[in-house]
Amino acid sequence: MASYLLRRVGTSALVLLLASIVVFVGVRALPGDAALALAGEERDPAALEQIREKYGLNDPVPVQYVRYLGNSLQGDLGFSTRTGLDVTDIILERLPVTLELALLSLAVGLLIGIPAGILAALRRGSWVDNASNAFGLLGLSIPNFWLGLVLILLVSVQWGLLPASGYVPFLEDPLGNLQRMLLPAIVLGTGLSAVLMRQMRSAMLETMSADYVRTARSKGLSERSVVLVHALRNSLVTVVTVLGLQLGALISGAVITEQIFVIPGFGKLIVDGVFTRDYPVIQGVALVTVFGYVFVNLLVDLTYSFLNPRIRVSGGAS
């Protein structure tokens, strides 16, 4: 177990390093001149040259990268070229917003997807199964922006039940915060729940016909423990893997959803950053996102190995 953990942490670090290179080079490949964006109205070549010198834009790209990496490791992500604010501060301010949205969406996805998938598998061919399948197909094919707009129109505009947009920090006004986060979380969580539902259903169908489930029945165990202990535990192994992959989709979905609901989170930060060619912000956000993604996948892997003793406990038949 310990060596497995070490190995996983090692590969994660490697992934992060590679990602930082990709992010750095990618940002530099964006069309447009950073110096021009920095200069604003200024078009004087001498002034531009001065800006380039000041931000180290004249150095070879590898040199720029090493400097950037060194600073990043110390938590210094530079300053926004647009607002002049410390990128680390901006990110620390926006991160909790997106994290909350992601967690709420995850909750929506799990709360709908897992039970629906289990029920659909247990009542295969029944109306529950058909309804779940229809939901799964819809949930996967409906784009986030459309669902977001429809929900705003119906729930907020038509019925006036929830605010259509905006954000208040949870600590300031918990109820108001949840009221505003609910719709975006549903929008993001729907697609996730559809994926989880389908995965859960097929995993359960498979495990329910496994030999060890028949063994569990032959012991006289209640149907509840046959399903919820013996079958579910093994189904979760595959579902958790899929969950890890889906978190990437959740992050990119958050970009669009935050735009629609005007939530000042990460997604909005990166979009604004791209439009204003704010390199330090784009870089910082991308790096933190990748970091989060790698970290979550590490967590997923650990959960996976917890669920699956074949990974956790080595040692073959003797």
Binding site: A210, D211, Y212, R214, T215, A216, R217, S218, K219, G220, L221, S222, E223, H230, R233, N234, V237, L307, N308, P309, R310, V313, G315, G316, A317, S318
Partner: protein, 341 residues
């Protein structure tokens, strides 16, 4: 209070059978139509007896056995009577049946590699059945689990009890399955080809354990096997099945010495020293008999073995041969019974 007629009386035959299966029919409904998997199987099992079910692959041995504790898939229809000490298991509710499973009747399945749950330690999988039926505390169940592992001769049981199935060999997993099956002291143990998937070197050990259970705990065993050596070695009585039907039934020495049905004769044909019966080489398989096993799409009123039978005549395809004694206590379903020359 007086005893009234409405009081439950055993409905079985006037025998001391622990388990009595009577006129069992099992049909599966599938997308391609019905499958008549078992047609009219009957047998009695006495306490402490080992009854062997033999026959070619697909003849319905496993489904017959699985129908007893009600473990067939939902697409199965079971008719007949399955009396455990006079109580018809087919009439029990799901809840009543669950109280019987693992407690009074337990099962060792054909597939040792996949029959244990990979996610839990073998200790937990043994404890579970003890906690379910014996109401033991977790600690007491754990101690019992170690004892049971010792009973099935797993070395270092205190350590092994915390291992996962993937850390064990096939033979050891099968012994864990047996430990689970005997945990609550069942009256009937069904062992479905308990050694087929195992290495020859460990087969004998597993069979010894089964014999020990019968001798020491008086457990009655339904033993399903392809292996005539195992039958001769372990069984008291044998039911021979062919295409879902019972074709012959006898005490083991009688069967080996005087096989009546041509199918049984065929199975035993290649076995040397037939007259001595028990002197069979362990590991000997049923002999291949030329011809194809009939489909189970229908249950025709004729002898299903006739197309492959060297003795078949007109009468064989005109009606179904009844399973009747052709020698004392030795029924065979054949119009031309007797030993091969």
């Amino acid at each position: 209070m007086t005893t009234t007629v409405s009081e439950r009386v055993p409905t079985g035959p006037a025998s001391d059978a622990l388990l009595s299966v009577q006129d069992l029919h099992i049909r599966f409904s599938t997308e391609d139509g019905p499958v008549h998997a078992v047609n009219g199987v009957s047998f009695d099992l006495a306490a402490g007896e080992i009854l062997a079910l033999v026959g070619e692959s697909g003849c319905g041995k496993s489904v017959t056995a699985m129908s007893v504790p009600g473990l067939l898939s939902p697409n199965a229809t079971v008719d007949g009577r399955i009396l455990l000490q006079g109580r018809d298991l087919l009439g029990l509710s799901a809840k009543e049946l669950r109280a019987v499973r693992g407690k009074e009747i337990s099962f060792v399945f054909q597939e040792p590699m996949s029959s244990l749950n990979p996610a839990f330690t073998v200790g937990k999988q043994i404890r579970e059945v003890l906690q379910r039926h014996e109401g033991l505390s977790k600690k007491a169940a754990h101690e019992r689990a170690v004892d049971l592992l010792r009973l099935v001769r797993i070395p270092a049981p205190e350590r092994r009890v915390d291992e996962y199935p993937h850390q064990m060999s096939g033979g050891m997993r099968q012994r864990v399955m047996i430990a689970i099956a005997v945990a609550c002291g069942p009256k009937v143990l069904v062992a479905d080809e308990p050694t087929t998937a195992l290495d020859v070197t460990i087969q004998a050990g597993v069979l010894d354990i089964l014999r020990g259970l019968r001798d020491e705990l008086g457990t009655a065993i339904i033993l399903i096997t392809h292996d005539l050596g195992v039958v001769a070695d372990l069984a008291d009585r044998v039911v021979v099945m062919y295409a879902g039907r019972p074709v012959e039934q006898a005490e083991v020495h009688e069967l080996f010495a005087h096989p009546q049905h041509p199918y049984t004769n065929g199975l035993l044909g290649a076995v040397p020293h037939r007259e001595k019966g028990v002197e069979l080489v362990a590991g000997r398989r049923l002999r291949e008999i030329p011809g194809l096993v009939p489909s189970l799409r229908s249950d025709p009123d004729e002898c299903v073995f006739a197309p492959r039978c060297p003795r078949s005549t007109e009468v064989c395809v005109s009606r179904r041969p009844p399973l009747e004694p052709t020698r004392p206590h030795h029924p065979a379903a054949c119009f031309h019974p007797g030993e091969d020359e």
